[in-house]
Amino acid sequence: MTHFFSVLGIWLGALFTFAIFSFLYKDNPFYKIAEQIFVGLSAGYWFVYTIFFILMPNLFNPLLQDFAVNWIKLIPAVLGILMLLRLIPSIDWVSRFPIALVIGTTSGIFFLRYLKSDVINQLTATIMNPFQGADWVTVVGQILLIIGTLTGVIYFYFSKKHEGAFGVTAKIGIYFLMVSFGAAFGYTAMARISLLIGRLQFLLGDWLGIINP
Protein backbone atom coordinates (compact mmCIF):
# COMPACT_ATOMS: atom_id res chain seq x y z
CA MET A 1 0.00 0.00 0.00
CA THR A 2 2.87 2.36 0.87
CA HIS A 3 4.40 1.64 -2.56
CA PHE A 4 1.11 2.55 -4.26
CA PHE A 5 0.94 5.92 -2.47
CA SER A 6 4.62 6.54 -3.19
CA VAL A 7 4.08 5.95 -6.94
CA LEU A 8 0.85 7.96 -6.86
CA GLY A 9 2.74 10.86 -5.24
CA ILE A 10 5.36 10.87 -8.03
CA TRP A 11 2.67 10.75 -10.72
CA LEU A 12 0.73 13.57 -9.07
CA GLY A 13 3.91 15.63 -8.93
CA ALA A 14 4.69 14.93 -12.60
CA LEU A 15 1.16 15.69 -13.81
CA PHE A 16 0.99 18.97 -11.89
CA THR A 17 4.46 19.90 -13.19
CA PHE A 18 3.28 19.42 -16.77
CA ALA A 19 0.04 21.26 -16.06
CA ILE A 20 1.97 24.33 -14.86
CA PHE A 21 4.51 24.16 -17.70
CA SER A 22 1.65 24.02 -20.22
CA PHE A 23 1.23 27.77 -19.57
CA LEU A 24 4.40 28.32 -21.64
CA TYR A 25 2.31 27.44 -24.71
CA LYS A 26 -0.73 29.49 -23.66
CA ASP A 27 -3.29 29.82 -20.87
CA ASN A 28 -5.32 26.60 -20.80
CA PRO A 29 -7.69 24.59 -18.55
CA PHE A 30 -4.90 22.31 -17.25
CA TYR A 31 -2.91 25.31 -16.04
CA LYS A 32 -6.02 26.88 -14.51
CA ILE A 33 -6.82 23.67 -12.62
CA ALA A 34 -3.27 23.38 -11.26
CA GLU A 35 -3.21 27.09 -10.40
CA GLN A 36 -6.46 26.95 -8.39
CA ILE A 37 -5.38 23.77 -6.58
CA PHE A 38 -2.12 25.53 -5.71
CA VAL A 39 -4.03 28.52 -4.31
CA GLY A 40 -6.35 26.29 -2.26
CA LEU A 41 -3.58 24.05 -0.89
CA SER A 42 -1.41 27.06 -0.10
CA ALA A 43 -4.22 28.75 1.85
CA GLY A 44 -5.04 25.47 3.61
CA TYR A 45 -1.39 24.89 4.48
CA TRP A 46 -1.05 28.34 6.13
CA PHE A 47 -4.38 27.87 7.93
CA VAL A 48 -3.18 24.63 9.54
CA TYR A 49 0.31 26.08 10.15
CA THR A 50 -1.21 29.07 11.97
CA ILE A 51 -3.28 26.82 14.22
CA PHE A 52 -0.51 24.34 15.09
CA PHE A 53 2.50 26.63 15.20
CA ILE A 54 1.15 30.03 16.29
CA LEU A 55 -2.18 29.72 18.11
CA MET A 56 -1.65 26.40 19.90
CA PRO A 57 1.74 27.17 21.52
CA ASN A 58 0.96 30.83 22.24
CA LEU A 59 -2.73 30.71 23.16
CA PHE A 60 -4.55 27.38 23.47
CA ASN A 61 -1.84 25.34 25.23
CA PRO A 62 -1.02 28.00 27.89
CA LEU A 63 -4.75 28.52 28.60
CA LEU A 64 -5.46 24.79 28.89
CA GLN A 65 -2.33 23.96 30.91
CA ASP A 66 -2.43 26.76 33.53
CA PHE A 67 -5.45 29.01 33.23
CA ALA A 68 -4.83 30.81 36.57
CA VAL A 69 -1.47 32.11 35.36
CA ASN A 70 -2.30 32.65 31.70
CA TRP A 71 -5.85 34.05 31.93
CA ILE A 72 -4.58 37.38 30.56
CA LYS A 73 -4.22 35.65 27.18
CA LEU A 74 -8.02 35.75 26.98
CA ILE A 75 -7.69 39.43 26.02
CA PRO A 76 -5.80 38.79 22.73
CA ALA A 77 -8.11 35.77 22.18
CA VAL A 78 -11.18 38.04 22.38
CA LEU A 79 -9.46 40.64 20.19
CA GLY A 80 -8.63 37.88 17.69
CA ILE A 81 -12.27 36.80 17.58
CA LEU A 82 -13.26 40.46 17.10
CA MET A 83 -10.85 40.50 14.15
CA LEU A 84 -12.78 37.62 12.55
CA LEU A 85 -15.99 39.69 12.78
CA ARG A 86 -14.64 41.67 9.82
CA LEU A 87 -16.26 38.97 7.71
CA ILE A 88 -19.72 40.24 8.81
CA PRO A 89 -20.23 43.61 7.04
CA SER A 90 -22.81 44.99 9.53
CA ILE A 91 -20.40 44.79 12.49
CA ASP A 92 -17.04 44.87 10.71
CA TRP A 93 -16.10 48.12 12.52
CA VAL A 94 -15.50 46.04 15.68
CA SER A 95 -12.37 44.63 14.02
CA ARG A 96 -10.78 48.09 14.24
CA PHE A 97 -9.85 47.47 17.90
CA PRO A 98 -7.59 44.44 17.29
CA ILE A 99 -6.28 46.05 14.07
CA ALA A 100 -5.38 49.16 16.11
CA LEU A 101 -3.43 47.00 18.57
CA VAL A 102 -1.60 45.16 15.77
CA ILE A 103 -0.83 48.43 13.93
CA GLY A 104 0.29 50.15 17.14
CA THR A 105 2.56 47.25 18.11
CA THR A 106 3.98 47.00 14.58
CA SER A 107 4.64 50.76 14.47
CA GLY A 108 6.36 50.74 17.87
CA ILE A 109 8.50 47.70 17.05
CA PHE A 110 9.35 48.86 13.51
CA PHE A 111 10.21 52.38 14.68
CA LEU A 112 12.97 51.02 16.93
CA ARG A 113 14.03 48.04 14.81
CA TYR A 114 14.52 49.99 11.58
CA LEU A 115 16.13 52.93 13.38
CA LYS A 116 18.74 50.55 14.76
CA SER A 117 19.27 48.01 11.97
CA ASP A 118 18.56 49.96 8.79
CA VAL A 119 19.70 53.47 9.69
CA ILE A 120 22.20 53.61 12.58
CA ASN A 121 23.93 50.27 11.91
CA GLN A 122 24.18 50.90 8.16
CA LEU A 123 25.57 54.40 8.69
CA THR A 124 28.05 53.09 11.28
CA ALA A 125 29.26 50.45 8.81
CA THR A 126 29.68 53.08 6.09
CA ILE A 127 31.61 55.64 8.16
CA MET A 128 35.05 53.99 8.02
CA ASN A 129 38.58 54.68 6.85
CA PRO A 130 38.56 53.51 3.22
CA PHE A 131 42.36 53.37 3.00
CA GLN A 132 42.61 50.62 5.63
CA GLY A 133 42.87 47.63 3.33
CA ALA A 134 45.10 44.72 2.59
CA ASP A 135 45.39 45.52 -1.14
CA TRP A 136 44.41 48.21 -3.63
CA VAL A 137 41.30 46.28 -4.74
CA THR A 138 39.90 46.48 -1.19
CA VAL A 139 40.73 50.20 -0.96
CA VAL A 140 38.97 50.93 -4.28
CA GLY A 141 36.02 48.82 -3.15
CA GLN A 142 35.72 50.66 0.16
CA ILE A 143 35.87 54.05 -1.57
CA LEU A 144 33.13 52.88 -3.96
CA LEU A 145 31.11 51.63 -0.97
CA ILE A 146 31.18 55.03 0.73
CA ILE A 147 30.50 57.01 -2.46
CA GLY A 148 27.74 54.60 -3.52
CA THR A 149 25.95 54.68 -0.17
CA LEU A 150 26.04 58.47 0.15
CA THR A 151 25.03 59.20 -3.45
CA GLY A 152 22.33 56.52 -3.26
CA VAL A 153 20.85 58.14 -0.14
CA ILE A 154 21.01 61.53 -1.88
CA TYR A 155 19.03 60.07 -4.80
CA PHE A 156 16.25 59.13 -2.35
CA TYR A 157 15.99 62.73 -1.13
CA PHE A 158 13.05 64.07 -3.10
CA SER A 159 12.43 67.32 -1.22
CA LYS A 160 14.95 69.13 -3.46
CA LYS A 161 14.87 69.15 -7.25
CA HIS A 162 17.56 66.90 -8.77
CA GLU A 163 19.54 69.51 -10.74
CA GLY A 164 23.02 71.00 -10.77
CA ALA A 165 25.64 69.42 -8.48
CA PHE A 166 22.84 67.75 -6.49
CA GLY A 167 21.47 66.22 -9.69
CA VAL A 168 24.90 64.90 -10.72
CA THR A 169 25.34 63.29 -7.27
CA ALA A 170 21.88 61.74 -7.49
CA LYS A 171 22.74 60.45 -10.99
CA ILE A 172 25.85 58.70 -9.62
CA GLY A 173 23.56 57.22 -6.95
CA ILE A 174 21.30 55.83 -9.69
CA TYR A 175 24.31 54.12 -11.31
CA PHE A 176 25.12 52.33 -8.04
CA LEU A 177 21.48 51.36 -7.61
CA MET A 178 21.45 49.95 -11.16
CA VAL A 179 24.51 47.79 -10.44
CA SER A 180 22.76 46.59 -7.30
CA PHE A 181 19.56 45.77 -9.22
CA GLY A 182 21.63 44.00 -11.88
CA ALA A 183 23.35 41.85 -9.26
CA ALA A 184 19.98 41.07 -7.63
CA PHE A 185 18.55 40.24 -11.07
CA GLY A 186 21.49 37.90 -11.79
CA TYR A 187 20.94 36.06 -8.52
CA THR A 188 17.17 35.82 -9.06
CA ALA A 189 17.65 34.47 -12.60
CA MET A 190 20.11 31.88 -11.28
CA ALA A 191 17.73 30.83 -8.49
CA ARG A 192 14.87 30.35 -10.98
CA ILE A 193 17.07 28.39 -13.37
CA SER A 194 18.22 26.13 -10.55
CA LEU A 195 14.55 25.50 -9.70
CA LEU A 196 13.94 24.64 -13.36
CA ILE A 197 16.88 22.21 -13.28
CA GLY A 198 15.36 20.68 -10.12
CA ARG A 199 12.06 20.16 -11.95
CA LEU A 200 13.79 18.52 -14.91
CA GLN A 201 15.75 16.28 -12.53
CA PHE A 202 12.47 15.23 -10.91
CA LEU A 203 10.82 14.46 -14.25
CA LEU A 204 13.81 12.63 -15.77
CA GLY A 205 14.99 10.99 -12.55
CA ASP A 206 12.17 10.32 -10.05
CA TRP A 207 9.39 10.00 -12.62
CA LEU A 208 10.95 8.46 -15.76
CA GLY A 209 14.07 7.00 -14.16
CA ILE A 210 16.22 8.04 -17.17
CA ILE A 211 18.84 9.81 -15.06
CA ASN A 212 20.16 9.16 -11.57
CA PRO A 213 18.99 12.16 -9.48
Binding site: M1, T2, L8, G9, L12, G13, F16, T17, F21, K32, Q36, I37, F38, V39, G40, L41, A43, G44, Y45, W46, F47, V48, F52, I54, I72, K73, P76, G80, I81, M83, L84, R86, W93, R96, F97, P98, L101, V102, I103, G104, T105, S107, G108, L112, Y114, L115, V119, I146, G148, G152, S180, A183, F185, G186, A189, M190, R192, I193, L195, R199
Partner: protein, 231 residues
Protein backbone atom coordinates in the same frame (compact mmCIF):
# COMPACT_ATOMS: atom_id res chain seq x y z
CA UNK B 1 -16.11 55.86 19.51
CA UNK B 2 -15.66 53.74 16.36
CA UNK B 3 -12.59 55.75 15.35
CA UNK B 4 -11.35 57.45 18.53
CA UNK B 5 -10.82 54.32 20.65
CA UNK B 6 -8.73 52.54 17.97
CA UNK B 7 -6.63 55.72 17.58
CA UNK B 8 -6.05 55.82 21.37
CA UNK B 9 -5.13 52.09 21.41
CA UNK B 10 -2.60 52.62 18.58
CA UNK B 11 -1.08 55.65 20.30
CA UNK B 12 -0.79 54.03 23.76
CA UNK B 13 0.61 50.72 22.46
CA UNK B 14 3.09 52.42 20.12
CA UNK B 15 4.32 54.88 22.77
CA UNK B 16 4.64 52.16 25.46
CA UNK B 17 6.74 49.98 23.14
CA UNK B 18 9.06 52.88 22.24
CA UNK B 19 9.38 54.03 25.88
CA UNK B 20 10.04 50.46 27.04
CA UNK B 21 13.22 50.43 24.95
CA UNK B 22 14.61 53.40 26.89
CA UNK B 23 13.23 52.58 30.39
CA UNK B 24 14.65 49.23 31.52
CA UNK B 25 12.45 49.08 34.65
CA UNK B 26 9.15 47.46 35.62
CA UNK B 27 6.45 47.56 34.34
CA UNK B 28 7.65 48.72 30.91
CA UNK B 29 9.67 45.60 30.06
CA UNK B 30 6.82 43.29 31.14
CA UNK B 31 4.17 45.28 29.29
CA UNK B 32 6.14 45.40 26.03
CA UNK B 33 6.90 41.66 26.28
CA UNK B 34 3.23 40.83 26.84
CA UNK B 35 2.13 43.17 24.02
CA UNK B 36 4.46 41.41 21.59
CA UNK B 37 2.91 38.05 22.58
CA UNK B 38 -0.59 39.52 22.06
CA UNK B 39 0.52 40.81 18.68
CA UNK B 40 1.56 37.28 17.66
CA UNK B 41 -1.81 35.83 18.71
CA UNK B 42 -3.88 38.53 16.97
CA UNK B 43 -1.67 38.28 13.87
CA UNK B 44 -2.45 34.53 13.89
CA UNK B 45 -6.18 35.33 13.85
CA UNK B 46 -5.48 37.84 11.03
CA UNK B 47 -3.95 35.04 8.94
CA UNK B 48 -7.04 32.90 9.58
CA UNK B 49 -9.22 35.88 8.63
CA UNK B 50 -7.33 36.03 5.32
CA UNK B 51 -7.96 32.34 4.59
CA UNK B 52 -11.64 32.59 5.54
CA UNK B 53 -11.99 35.68 3.35
CA UNK B 54 -10.46 33.75 0.44
CA UNK B 55 -13.05 31.03 1.03
CA UNK B 56 -15.86 33.64 1.14
CA UNK B 57 -14.72 35.44 -2.03
CA UNK B 58 -14.46 32.17 -3.97
CA UNK B 59 -17.85 31.06 -2.68
CA UNK B 60 -19.37 34.31 -4.03
CA UNK B 61 -17.69 33.78 -7.40
CA UNK B 62 -19.25 30.32 -7.64
CA UNK B 63 -22.64 31.45 -6.34
CA UNK B 64 -22.94 34.31 -8.87
CA UNK B 65 -21.36 32.19 -11.64
CA UNK B 66 -18.62 34.68 -12.45
CA UNK B 67 -16.19 34.06 -15.33
CA UNK B 68 -14.35 30.71 -14.97
CA UNK B 69 -16.36 29.96 -11.80
CA UNK B 70 -15.91 26.21 -12.24
CA UNK B 71 -12.19 26.48 -11.41
CA UNK B 72 -12.91 28.16 -8.07
CA UNK B 73 -14.68 24.99 -6.90
CA UNK B 74 -11.24 23.36 -7.04
CA UNK B 75 -9.82 26.12 -4.84
CA UNK B 76 -12.45 25.47 -2.18
CA UNK B 77 -12.14 21.68 -2.43
CA UNK B 78 -8.31 21.70 -2.19
CA UNK B 79 -8.44 24.24 0.66
CA UNK B 80 -10.99 22.13 2.57
CA UNK B 81 -9.07 18.87 2.00
CA UNK B 82 -5.79 20.41 3.24
CA UNK B 83 -7.47 21.94 6.32
CA UNK B 84 -9.41 18.77 7.20
CA UNK B 85 -6.33 16.55 6.77
CA UNK B 86 -4.38 18.88 9.06
CA UNK B 87 -7.09 19.09 11.70
CA UNK B 88 -8.03 15.36 11.69
CA UNK B 89 -4.57 13.74 11.57
CA UNK B 90 -2.30 16.67 12.44
CA UNK B 91 1.09 17.50 10.99
CA UNK B 92 4.45 15.70 11.21
CA UNK B 93 5.04 16.35 14.95
CA UNK B 94 1.57 17.45 16.04
CA UNK B 95 -1.36 15.08 16.64
CA UNK B 96 -4.75 16.03 15.22
CA UNK B 97 -8.32 15.35 16.40
CA UNK B 98 -7.90 11.65 15.50
CA UNK B 99 -4.46 11.47 17.12
CA UNK B 100 -1.41 10.59 15.04
CA UNK B 101 -3.37 8.38 12.59
CA UNK B 102 -1.05 5.39 12.88
CA UNK B 103 -3.16 3.26 10.49
CA UNK B 104 -3.25 5.93 7.78
CA UNK B 105 0.47 6.68 8.18
CA UNK B 106 1.23 2.95 7.78
CA UNK B 107 -0.79 2.90 4.56
CA UNK B 108 0.37 6.19 3.03
CA UNK B 109 3.87 6.47 4.41
CA UNK B 110 3.12 9.99 5.71
CA UNK B 111 0.32 11.83 7.44
CA UNK B 112 -2.24 12.98 4.82
CA UNK B 113 -1.34 16.65 5.41
CA UNK B 114 2.37 15.95 4.90
CA UNK B 115 1.64 13.67 1.93
CA UNK B 116 -0.27 16.47 0.18
CA UNK B 117 2.45 18.98 1.09
CA UNK B 118 5.30 16.83 -0.23
CA UNK B 119 3.63 15.33 -3.29
CA UNK B 120 1.39 18.14 -4.54
CA UNK B 121 2.05 21.51 -2.89
CA UNK B 122 5.86 21.33 -3.10
CA UNK B 123 5.81 20.31 -6.78
CA UNK B 124 3.27 23.00 -7.67
CA UNK B 125 5.23 25.64 -5.79
CA UNK B 126 8.63 24.73 -7.30
CA UNK B 127 7.20 24.51 -10.83
CA UNK B 128 5.31 27.79 -10.48
CA UNK B 129 8.52 29.59 -9.49
CA UNK B 130 10.66 27.77 -12.05
CA UNK B 131 8.21 29.02 -14.70
CA UNK B 132 9.57 32.48 -13.97
CA UNK B 133 12.95 31.40 -15.42
CA UNK B 134 11.36 31.69 -18.89
CA UNK B 135 9.59 34.98 -18.21
CA UNK B 136 12.64 36.50 -16.53
CA UNK B 137 14.55 35.93 -19.80
CA UNK B 138 11.98 37.86 -21.86
CA UNK B 139 11.79 40.56 -19.16
CA UNK B 140 15.58 40.86 -19.30
CA UNK B 141 15.49 41.30 -23.07
CA UNK B 142 12.97 44.13 -22.74
CA UNK B 143 14.88 45.76 -19.88
CA UNK B 144 18.26 45.61 -21.60
CA UNK B 145 17.06 46.71 -25.02
CA UNK B 146 16.88 50.35 -23.77
CA UNK B 147 20.33 51.66 -24.68
CA UNK B 148 21.02 53.92 -21.73
CA UNK B 149 23.96 53.97 -19.32
CA UNK B 150 21.68 52.73 -16.53
CA UNK B 151 20.42 49.72 -18.50
CA UNK B 152 23.95 48.87 -19.63
CA UNK B 153 25.17 48.93 -16.02
CA UNK B 154 22.27 46.66 -15.02
CA UNK B 155 23.08 44.28 -17.88
CA UNK B 156 26.83 44.22 -17.16
CA UNK B 157 26.32 43.61 -13.44
CA UNK B 158 23.77 40.83 -14.08
CA UNK B 159 25.98 39.05 -16.64
CA UNK B 160 29.16 39.33 -14.54
CA UNK B 161 27.40 38.05 -11.39
CA UNK B 162 25.81 35.14 -13.27
CA UNK B 163 29.02 34.17 -15.07
CA UNK B 164 31.10 34.57 -11.93
CA UNK B 165 28.88 32.13 -10.05
CA UNK B 166 29.04 29.37 -12.63
CA UNK B 167 31.89 27.12 -13.78
CA UNK B 168 31.78 28.96 -17.12
CA UNK B 169 33.19 32.07 -15.42
CA UNK B 170 36.20 30.16 -14.09
CA UNK B 171 36.83 28.51 -17.47
CA UNK B 172 36.63 31.79 -19.42
CA UNK B 173 39.16 33.66 -17.28
CA UNK B 174 41.10 30.83 -15.68
CA UNK B 175 44.04 31.33 -18.06
CA UNK B 176 44.76 34.88 -16.80
CA UNK B 177 48.25 35.34 -15.25
CA UNK B 178 48.68 35.92 -11.50
CA UNK B 179 49.20 39.70 -11.99
CA UNK B 180 45.73 39.97 -13.61
CA UNK B 181 43.90 37.72 -11.14
CA UNK B 182 41.62 40.61 -10.16
CA UNK B 183 40.03 40.27 -13.63
CA UNK B 184 39.08 36.66 -12.89
CA UNK B 185 35.28 36.52 -13.34
CA UNK B 186 34.49 34.92 -9.95
CA UNK B 187 36.57 37.69 -8.32
CA UNK B 188 34.80 40.42 -10.31
CA UNK B 189 31.47 38.91 -9.29
CA UNK B 190 32.59 38.84 -5.65
CA UNK B 191 33.79 42.47 -5.93
CA UNK B 192 30.44 43.62 -7.37
CA UNK B 193 28.51 41.81 -4.64
CA UNK B 194 30.76 43.08 -1.84
CA UNK B 195 31.10 46.76 -2.78
CA UNK B 196 28.83 48.43 -5.42
CA UNK B 197 25.94 46.05 -4.66
CA UNK B 198 26.29 46.58 -0.90
CA UNK B 199 26.42 50.35 -1.47
CA UNK B 200 23.17 50.26 -3.45
CA UNK B 201 21.49 47.94 -0.93
CA UNK B 202 22.61 50.17 1.96
CA UNK B 203 21.20 53.26 0.27
CA UNK B 204 17.88 51.44 -0.23
CA UNK B 205 17.90 50.19 3.38
CA UNK B 206 18.62 53.64 4.81
CA UNK B 207 15.98 55.25 2.57
CA UNK B 208 13.36 52.60 3.36
CA UNK B 209 14.30 52.65 7.05
CA UNK B 210 13.76 56.41 7.27
CA UNK B 211 10.47 55.98 5.42
CA UNK B 212 9.28 53.28 7.84
CA UNK B 213 10.29 55.40 10.85
CA UNK B 214 8.32 58.36 9.44
CA UNK B 215 5.28 56.18 8.67
CA UNK B 216 5.40 54.61 12.16
CA UNK B 217 5.42 58.04 13.76
CA UNK B 218 2.53 59.22 11.59
CA UNK B 219 0.50 56.13 12.59
CA UNK B 220 1.30 56.41 16.32
CA UNK B 221 0.42 60.12 16.36
CA UNK B 222 -2.84 59.47 14.52
CA UNK B 223 -1.93 61.48 11.40
CA UNK B 224 -2.12 58.39 9.21
CA UNK B 225 -5.55 56.75 9.68
CA UNK B 226 -6.15 54.84 6.46
CA UNK B 227 -5.96 51.49 8.31
CA UNK B 228 -9.26 52.36 10.02
CA UNK B 229 -11.13 52.28 6.71
CA UNK B 230 -13.41 54.89 5.18
CA UNK B 231 -16.54 54.63 7.33
Amino acid sequence: MKRKIPLIITFVVGVVLIFAEFIPHKPFGLISGELEKWYLIIAGFAIILGQLNLFKVNLFKIRYKQKNWQYFILTLVSFSIMVLCGIFWGTQNNPGVFGNGVAIVTAMGDKPFDYLFLNVYQHLSATMFSLLAFFIASAAYRAFIARTTESNLLLAAAILVMLGNTSMGSILTGWLPESLKFLHLPRISEFIMKYPNTAGQRAIMIGAGLGIIGSSLRIILGIERSYLGGK
